[in-house]
Amino acid sequence: MFLSLRTGFFLAVRQIKRSGKGTTALIIFIMVLTFLNLVVVSGLLVGLITGSFKQFREGYSGEVLITPEAGRDYIENSPALISFLENHPKVENIAPRYGMNVQVLGTLIDLPAKNERPNRIGTRLVGIDLEREEAVTGFSRFVTYGENLKEGEEGYILIGANILKKYSSFADANIPGLDLLEDVEVGDRVRASFTRAEGDIVSKDFIVKGILKSKVDEVSTRMFVTDRELKKLLAVNQEQFQAISVRTDYAYAPTLVRETKEFMNGYEARIQTTDEAIPSFLRDIETTFGILGNALSSIALVVASITVFIVIFINAVTKRKFIGIMKGIGISPSAIQFSYVFQAIFYGAIGSVIGLLLTFGVLKPYFDANPIDFPFSDGILVATIEGALIRIAILLTVTLIAGYVPAKLIIRKNTLDSILGR
């Protein structure tokens, strides 16, 4: 076996070295494309969703998100919890938020005509600490039109673009039940109405100071005022937050969740890592896209294996006489087979190495710096070295088989028939 391997390797090296450069380059090019198809297509599909996870983490949740327990209006023990988080050595920043459901009337000047629905929608009004929100989510980057809020000012509001007909990506979709505010621009006045805990209905007018564009729904479908103003509207005496986003090390998040739960010691709140906070349907989409990517990659793999098969088959068929002669002079069939398998592996390996360099040296850095602008996320390329190595192993296995089978088919022909070309 060793002698066959050695002789096969000897033959393969020389055949590769002295075969047509153009053909070799073409086969390697196909292998590179196959590798990229294996890694990049599924990586981009998964990256669409992973990109939205990343945006959710960076633009809203932080690494840990604390929200009220189901059926509760606010996070219990909020003041002590804030203090705990502020003093935790691993916590970099926190962004506590107030929030309540409101009805917003968009047009305060014109009354609706007969049979015309008022320009009104229901949404969530969120009160934010501008400085802390900026530290955790970089909130000001979402202000696309107009200006951000300023500390201490009252009567101003920021509106997410996806609840405004003029700016929403869904405006022309005519989705039943999706209400959007019409004719609301920066500088216009809107009226928010809500019901206090005691049952009082309160209304307050705001001037639209800015419009927020983000691919994170928690930003683009909500309205924002300063926390001080919202606290006044809620008429609460103490800090009763509806959400706290915590910025910490991503890897430390599970530990911080555990520590925070221990600290809460009976007080109710939903404490989750950003990954846990992502809705399960998005996880399902991620899985589906992964399967879809793998299915597409499988087609590429079949094409590549057929390519290698044909190349090796033609190579072996045209050398049938030489193969017969080699067998005739005593070269073992397995040595000849190994020579073709080595050639196939060479093409697969070189293609994979170039593909690896392209993926991690060019494409991944490029897509990280220039994400693909999808309507619901900024698509990145999800590719890990481990994943790529697994795909290389698959590619090499497939090329190995694609090299072995045709060589076997030719080599098993009768030696004398091969020599005589019968």
């Binding site: 002698l3 002295r18 002669i325 080699m326 005739g328 002079i329 005593g330 070269i331 073992s332 004398l416």
Partner: protein, 232 residues
């Protein structure tokens, strides 16, 4: 004749080919003995069965019936792997159309069987260079077949056949594709090898070259028509 001097002993070699329902006997029970160091030429008209007989003797084909002993070894019981090993270590072949691997240099072509035998590559190259030197190609070691003339390619083929010191060399029409001048040069190589004691069995259709052998057997219709020893 002492048994130990006999290197090829063929008894009643029959080779029949089947073409659908038709059966064609190409060899019809040939008997032959070849002495160690003998240079035997097999001649005959086209279709006489010369090459077919050579393939039986060289273990490239299996007789339909008959007995073949090579260098004292009964070959009829050998399986394909054993035959392949026997060919690799004990036999050498020279084919009509040189049969060199196009991507390998002259040196590498000669070295391949040696590497398969287990020689270190460096050692195989050294032996191959010596073999190529013997056939006058010491200066053409690194040339690929396409850069060599027909005669040079045939000499590379001979070097490949002799590099591992085989017991017998089988040559199938080695001069068929060569002009007369080159053919003579190739025959000189065979004669040199023969003088060194090499057993050679050569098929040829050229009487001029056959006459250089110790013995000439003429095949006709699958049987030995005549056997002529060279006059000393």
């Amino acid at each position: 004749m002492k048994t130990s001097q006999i290197i090829i002993q063929a008894e009643k070699i029959v080779r029949t080919f089947h073409d659908g329902t038709r059966e064609q006997s190409v060899l019809k029970g040939i008997d032959l003995t070849v002495e160690r160091g003998e240079f035997l030429a097999i001649v005959g008209r086209s279709g006489a069965g010369k090459s077919t007989f050579l393939y039986q003797l060289g273990l490239l084909d299996t007789p339909t019936s008959g007995r073949l002993v090579l260098d004292g070894k009964e070959t009829s019981h050998l399986n394909e792997t054993e035959k392949s090993q026997f060919r690799l270590f004990e036999l050498g072949y020279v084919f009509q159309d040189y049969a060199l691997l196009p991507e390998l240099t002259a040196l590498e072509n000669v070295a391949v069987p040696l590497i398969m035998q287990g020689h270190a590559i460096k050692d195989a190259y050294k032996k191959s260079a010596v073999a190529l030197g013997r056939v006058g190609l010491g200066q053409r070691l690194d040339h690929i077949p396409a850069k060599l003339s027909g005669g040079e390619q045939q000499r590379v083929s001979i070097a490949r056949a002799v590099a591992h010191d085989p017991k017998i060399i089988f040559a199938d029409e080695p001069t068929a594709n060569l002009d007369s001048e080159t053919s003579e040069a190739v025959m000189d190589v065979f004669l040199d090898l023969h003088r060194e004691g090499q057993t050679i069995v050569m098929v040829t259709h050229e009487d001029e070259y056959a006459s250089l052998a110790d013995r000439v057997i003429t095949l006709s219709d699958g049987t030995v028509k005549s056997s002529t020893h060279k006059k000393s």
